[in-house]
C-alpha cells in the first residue's frame, strides 16, 4: 500500500466521522421534540426527520468502521455504537450548529432551514464524489434533505410572516443562530487534503448560492438578515459549546449504563 493511499484512507475515515457526527447531533436534538411537538402531526413529522439524520450518521459510521479495519488507529475494532456513544466531547468532530439546543419551535425550524438549505447543495456535490461509497450515501441522503427543506422553508414563511409573536421568535432565532453559520463553509485540514482527489466537497464554494437562497427566504418571510458581525467555530477540532456535554450525557446514558447493549 502506498503512503498516499493510506493517508487518503485515514483522511476519509476522519471525514466520515465528522459528517456522521454532524448528523448524529442534529438527529439527537430533533428527537427531543418527540412527544413535545406543538401538534400531533408535527410530532410524527419531526421525529421522522430526526430518524433520517440518525440513519445517515449510521451510514457514515459504518463506512468509518470498515475503513478503520484497514487503517487501524483509535477506531480499530470499534463498532458503530462504540463510535456513536462512547467518545468524550473533545473526540466528536461535529460543527457547532448541530449541537445547539432545540430552543423553541421557531429556533428549531430556523436551524433546519439553515442546515437543510446547506445540505441540499452539500449532498448534491458529495453525490459526485470520487469515493463511490460517500457518493452513494449522499445520493440517498439528498432525497431526504430535499423533503426536509420543503418543510423548513414552509415553516419559515408560516412563522416569519405569521403572528407578531411567531415573527419575533423567528427573528430572535435567526439572530442567535447566524454566528454559527460561517462554520458550515469552513474547510478542515482533512477536507482540504481530500479535495484535490475529488473525495470531499468544497464547502467554501457553496457559500454564495446558500447566502442568496437564505436571503431570499428571509426576505419572503419578512425577516431581517442579521449583520453577521460575530461568529463561532471550533467543532471540527473538537472544541464544543457548553451544551455538548449535556447532549452527550443523555444520548450516551444507555450505552454507558448497559455496555454493549444492542437492539
Amino acid at each position: 500500500m502506498s503512503n498516499t493511499e493510506s493517508t487518503t484512507r485515514e483522511n476519509t475515515l476522519e471525514y466520515s466521522i465528522g459528517l456522521g457526527d454532524d448528523s448524529l447531533m442534529l438527529g439527537q436534538r430533533l428527537a427531543e421534540w418527540c412527544r413535545n411537538a406543538p401538534l400531533l402531526e408535527e410530532d410524527l413529522a419531526i421525529s421522522n426527520v430526526a430518524l433520517d439524520f440518525i440513519g445517515r450518521a449510521n451510514m457514515f459510521y459504518e463506512y468509518a468502521v470498515e475503513l478503520a479495519k484497514v487503517t487501524g488507529g483509535v477506531f480499530k475494532n470499534q463498532s458503530v455504537d462504540d463510535i456513536a456513544y462512547l467518545r468524550d466531547s473533545r473526540e466528536y468532530l461535529n460543527l457547532l450548529i448541530f449541537e445547539m439546543p432545540i430552543g423553541d419551535f421557531a429556533y428549531t425550524m430556523t436551524r433546519q432551514l439553515i442546515v437543510d438549505l446547506f445540505n441540499v447543495d452539500y449532498f448534491t456535490a458529495l453525490s459526485a464524489s470520487s469515493d463511490s461509497r460517500l457518493a452513494a450515501i449522499a445520493a440517498k441522503t439528498l432525497k431526504e434533505s430535499k423533503y426536509h427543506l420543503r418543510r423548513s422553508h414552509e415553516w419559515a414563511l408560516r412563522l416569519g410572516d405569521g403572528t407578531e409573536e411567531s415573527h419575533t421568535r423567528m427573528q430572535n432565532a435567526v439572530n442567535e443562530l447566524w454566528g454559527y453559520t460561517p462554520e458550515l463553509f469552513e474547510m478542515s485540514e482533512t477536507e482540504l487534503a481530500l479535495l484535490p482527489a475529488g473525495i470531499s466537497v468544497d464547502r467554501a464554494a457553496l457559500f454564495d448560492t446558500w447566502e442568496a437562497r437564505v436571503s431570499g427566504i428571509l426576505n419572503e418571510a419578512t425577516l431581517d438578515h442579521p449583520p453577521g458581525d460575530w461568529q463561532v467555530t471550533g467543532g471540527r477540532a473538537g472544541v464544543h459549546t457548553e451544551y455538548h456535554g449535556h447532549l452527550l450525557s443523555e444520548m450516551q446514558f444507555l450505552q454507558r449504563a448497559y455496555p454493549g447493549l444492542a437492539w
Partner: protein, 96 residues
C-alpha cells in the same frame, strides 16, 4: 394540543400502488392543504404505504345522514332484478 381546535381537519386518501384506487386511510389537522399533504406523507406513508396522496378538507365532503337511511337505501331491498344474478341464463348460452 389546543392548536387542533383551530386547525382544519383533512381526510387523507392514499393510493397504495399504480392501478389501484385511492383509499381513505384517516384524517389529520393542518393549517392548509399543502401542510396537510406533507403531514399525510409523514403520518400515513412512513412504511411505504403509498405512491399517491389526496387530501380533502373534511368540511368539503357532503355525507349521507343516518336518518336518511330509510329513503336512501331501503327502496333497493325489493329490487332483486337489478342484480345480474337475478336472471337465469338459457341452457344454450354457456358464457355471458
Amino acid at each position: 394540543m389546543n392548536t387542533s381546535v383551530n386547525t382544519p381537519l383533512y381526510e387523507v386518501f392514499v393510493r397504495s400502488k399504480r392501478g389501484l384506487d385511492h383509499k381513505h386511510v384517516g384524517s389529520l389537522h393542518a393549517e392548509d392543504a399543502e401542510q396537510a399533504l406533507e403531514y399525510a406523507r409523514d403520518c400515513y406513508t412512513r412504511r411505504s404505504e403509498g405512491v399517491s396522496i389526496w387530501v380533502v378538507k373534511s368540511g368539503d365532503i357532503t355525507c349521507s345522514q343516518e336518518e336518511d337511511a330509510a329513503s336512501f337505501y331501503d327502496p333497493m331491498e325489493d329490487k332483486p332484478y337489478r342484480h345480474a344474478t337475478h336472471y337465469v341464463l338459457p341452457e344454450n348460452i354457456k358464457n355471458m
